[in-house]
Amino acid sequence: MSIKTEHMVLNMGPQHPSTHGVLRLELELNGELIVNVKPHIGYLHRCFEKHAEAMTYPQIIPYTDRIDYLASISNNFGYAVTVEKLMGIQVPERVEYIRVIFGELQRIASHLVAIGTYGLDIGAFTPFLYCFRDREKILSLFEMTCGARLLYNYIWVGGLSHDIHPEFVRLTREFLNYFRPQVEEVNQLLSYNKIFIERTANIGILPAETAINFGMTGPNLRGSGVKFDLRRNDPYSIYDRFDFDIPVGDGRMGTVGDCWDRYFVRVLEIEQSIRIIEQALDQIPEGDVSSAIPKRIKPPVGSVYGRVENPRGELGYFLISDGGLNPFRLKVRGPSFVSLSVMGELCKGHLIADVIAILGSIDIVLGEVDR
C-alpha cells in the first residue's frame, strides 16, 4: 500500500553561507528528495544596463568591473573587445599581450576562489586557505600594475590605463615557478580526497546535449565533455597564437558531466593558463599602451555582439549604438545567469545536501546573475 504524501517547500537563503551571495532557492521536497528547485534572484540587482544608457563609453568600464567581481579584468576585456569591434580599432601588440596575461592571471585567481569555496561548501576548510594564499599573490601583481586589488578599471577601449611595472615580467615568472607545484597540492588535498569524491562524483550529471540546450558555457560545458572554448573556437584578441589544450570532463571518478568533472576542469584549466602566460611573457614586445585610445569614443550607428571566455563561461555584450556618446542599449549575457537556470534540472532526484554540492560546482557569482 502506498501512502500519498504532500510535498514540502523549504527555503534555502537568501542569507545562507553556501549560496555564495544573496540567492534564495525554493526547494520542493518529497521527504529528503528534491522534486524541484526554483531559484529566486535579483537581490543584488544594480541596474547595470539602465546605468549604461546614461554613461559615456569609458565611464561604463568601472561598472563592468562589478558584474563578475571575481573576474573584473575579464569583464573589462570583454567590454573593450566589443566596443573596439564596433569602432574598428586595432590595438597595439603590446596591449594585446598584456591583456592576455592579465586575463589568464585573472582566470587563475577566479578558479582558485571557485576551487577553494567549493571545498568549503563540501566541508573541507584547508584547501580554501591554500587557494586564497596563492590568489593574494596574483592580486599583488595586479595591485603593482594598476593600484587596485579587486576592481581594476584596467583595460580601456583601445588600450590600458597603465603600462606594466618594469619588474612585472620577472615577478610574474617567479610567481609561476612558485605556483606550478601548488596545483598538485590542491589535487592531493581536495581533488583525489576520498570524501570529496564521494560527495561529488555521480552527483548533478549534466549530459552534453542538455548543457548546450541550456546555454551552458565555459567550464560547466566542458565538464560535460564538450570541447568548446571561445579562445579556440571563436578566437578574439591574440588567443590564436598560443599553444594550449582544452581540458574536458571524462568521467574519471563517475559519470561524464558530474560535479567532480566540472570541478576538475577548473583545476586543469589553471595549468593551461600558466602555459599561456609563459608563452605571452616570452613574446611580449615593447611599445606604447595608450597610443590607440581614442580621444572621444563615438561608435558608428550599428550593433555588435562581442563575447569572450570568462572564467565562468561566455560573457557577452550586446551593444546597440545610435551614433551618440552613450550606448543606445547594452545588454550583458552573464555566464552565471545562464548557468543558474539549469539548477532545477540538475537537482531533481538528489538529496538536500547535494544541492550545495551542485550549486558550488556550477560556480556562480551573484553579482553577475543579478547585474
Partner: protein, 177 residues
C-alpha cells in the same frame, strides 16, 4: 558554415512572407527581421535543419526601439504614442561554426512574441528578463514572471523602456531620491 545571405535565402524559401528583411548595410552584425507571430516555428527550423543546426542561443535581448509616432493634438501640443519593441536572438551553431542574428519586431501597444523556450531551454530566463525589463510578453512561456525586479513591482512599469519615469513611490513608501 553559411553566410547570413545564404541563411536568409533558406529561411525565405521555407517561411515566405514571415521573413521580412535582411539588414546588412550597418556595422557589424547583419540581422534578419521576422514577424513576431511565428518565431517558434522559425526557431524550431533553425535548430533542427541539418544545414543550419543552430544548437546554441547565445543571448536573447529585449530592446525598446525608441521610435514613437508624433501626433499633433488639437490644442497645439504634441504627444508621443506607438513605436515598436524588438527581440534579438543571437544564435550560434557549435558543429557548423556560424552565427546569425534574428530580430522580431512587435508593437509597443500590445507587445507579443512567441516564446522559443521549447526550442532552447536557456530562453526561459532570458525571456523572463525581457518581460521584466522591457515588457515584452512571450506567448506560451511556462512561467512569465518578473525575475530581477521584485515580484510586487508595478505591473505596468518596465525600467528599460525609453519612456520610463523613476517612480516616486514604492508600495506606498516615498522613495527619498
Amino acid at each position: 558554415m553559411k553566410s547570413s545571405k545564404e541563411i536568409f535565402e533558406i529561411l525565405k524559401d521555407e517561411f515566405g512572407d514571415k521573413i521580412l528583411e535582411l539588414k546588412e548595410d550597418i556595422p557589424v552584425d547583419p540581422y534578419i527581421i521576422v514577424t513576431p507571430d511565428s518565431t517558434e516555428k522559425i526557431a524550431r527550423f533553425l535548430h533542427d535543419s541539418s544545414d543550419l543546426q543552430f544548437d546554441s542561443l547565445m543571448v536573447l535581448s529585449g530592446v525598446d526601439d525608441n521610435n514613437p509616432v508624433k501626433t499633433k493634438n488639437e490644442d497645439g501640443t504634441e504627444s508621443l504614442s506607438g513605436g515598436t519593441l524588438s527581440v534579438y536572438y543571437h544564435l550560434y551553431s557549435i558543429p557548423l561554426n556560424h552565427k546569425i542574428v534574428i530580430r522580431a519586431v512587435t508593437e509597443k501597444e500590445n507587445p507579443m512574441v512567441q516564446s522559443v523556450e521549447s526550442v532552447w531551454k536557456t530562453a526561459d530566463w532570458h525571456e523572463r528578463e525581457a518581460f521584466d525589463m522591457v515588457g515584452i510578453r512571450f506567448e506560451n512561456h511556462p512561467d512569465l514572471t518578473r525575475i530581477l525586479l521584485p515580484y510586487d513591482w508595478d505591473e505596468s512599469s518596465f525600467p528599460l523602456r525609453k519612456d520610463y519615469k523613476n517612480p516616486e513611490f514604492y508600495q506606498g513608501m516615498k522613495i527619498p531620491y
